[in-house]
Amino acid sequence: EDQVTQSPEALRLQEGESSSLNCSYTVSGLRGLFWYRQDPGKGPEFLFTLYSAGEEKEKERLKATLTKKESFLHITAPKPEDSATYLCAVLQETSGSRLTFGEGTQLTVNP
């Protein structure tokens, strides 16, 4: 069975303090790994899709990387507005269009 585990569950950072969020996965045949940002009371907002090990994507202060077992979301010099829950999801080759989500990491950036 596909499994997606995110760590830590919660992370508190000071503004400007860089860190990384982890998403480890166990799937047979990864078709894609997705990162979303979710603000309280809102729907998830798409950030990145990664397709193969070694791939990296960047957007502002965020950079996502992918290996054969895990993905990292690196946050460089975060600001309070980066506070949100970050969700990771995987698409497996034989699952059609169905995503398997992790439980998320709740990030708080203090000013």
Binding site: G41, G43, E45, F46, L87, G96, S97, R98, F101, E103
Partner: protein, 111 residues
């Protein structure tokens, strides 16, 4: 560009009452459509998905049902709500095996 709408935004219903949540997508044709439920502080649980009009796949047995009467309309229903049906309901769309894009969500409270 594509837009996804959900309504209502919030709903408070008594136990045993019926439910109808609606989701519509604009700016795309033949999308895959999805209903998810999210418990507080948790990840997303896929409830139903549809690859076309009248085609519904159920992921989790429960007292909810889904219908797709039109290409870009997806409806989540229940004949009798349970307390355990409370949660945050999210609709999403994608092209086949593509990135899923989420709506704003409906907060359902069953009393």
């Amino acid at each position: 560009s594509q837009t996804i709408h959900q309504w209502p935004a919030t709903l408070v219903q008594p136990v045993g009452s019926p439910l109808s949540l609606e989701c519509t997508v604009e700016g795309t044709s033949n999308p895959n459509l999805y209903w998810y439920r999210q418990a507080a502080g948790r990840g997303l649980q896929l409830l139903f998905y549809s690859v076309g009009i009248g085609q519904i796949s159920s992921e989790v047995p429960q007292n909810l049902s889904a219908s797709r009467p039109q290409d870009r309309q997806f409806i989540l229903s229940s004949k009798k709500l349970l307390l355990s049906d409370s949660g945050f309901y999210l609709c999403a769309w994608s092209v086949p095996a593509g990135t899923q894009y989420f709506g704003p969500g409906t907060r359902l409270t069953v009393l």
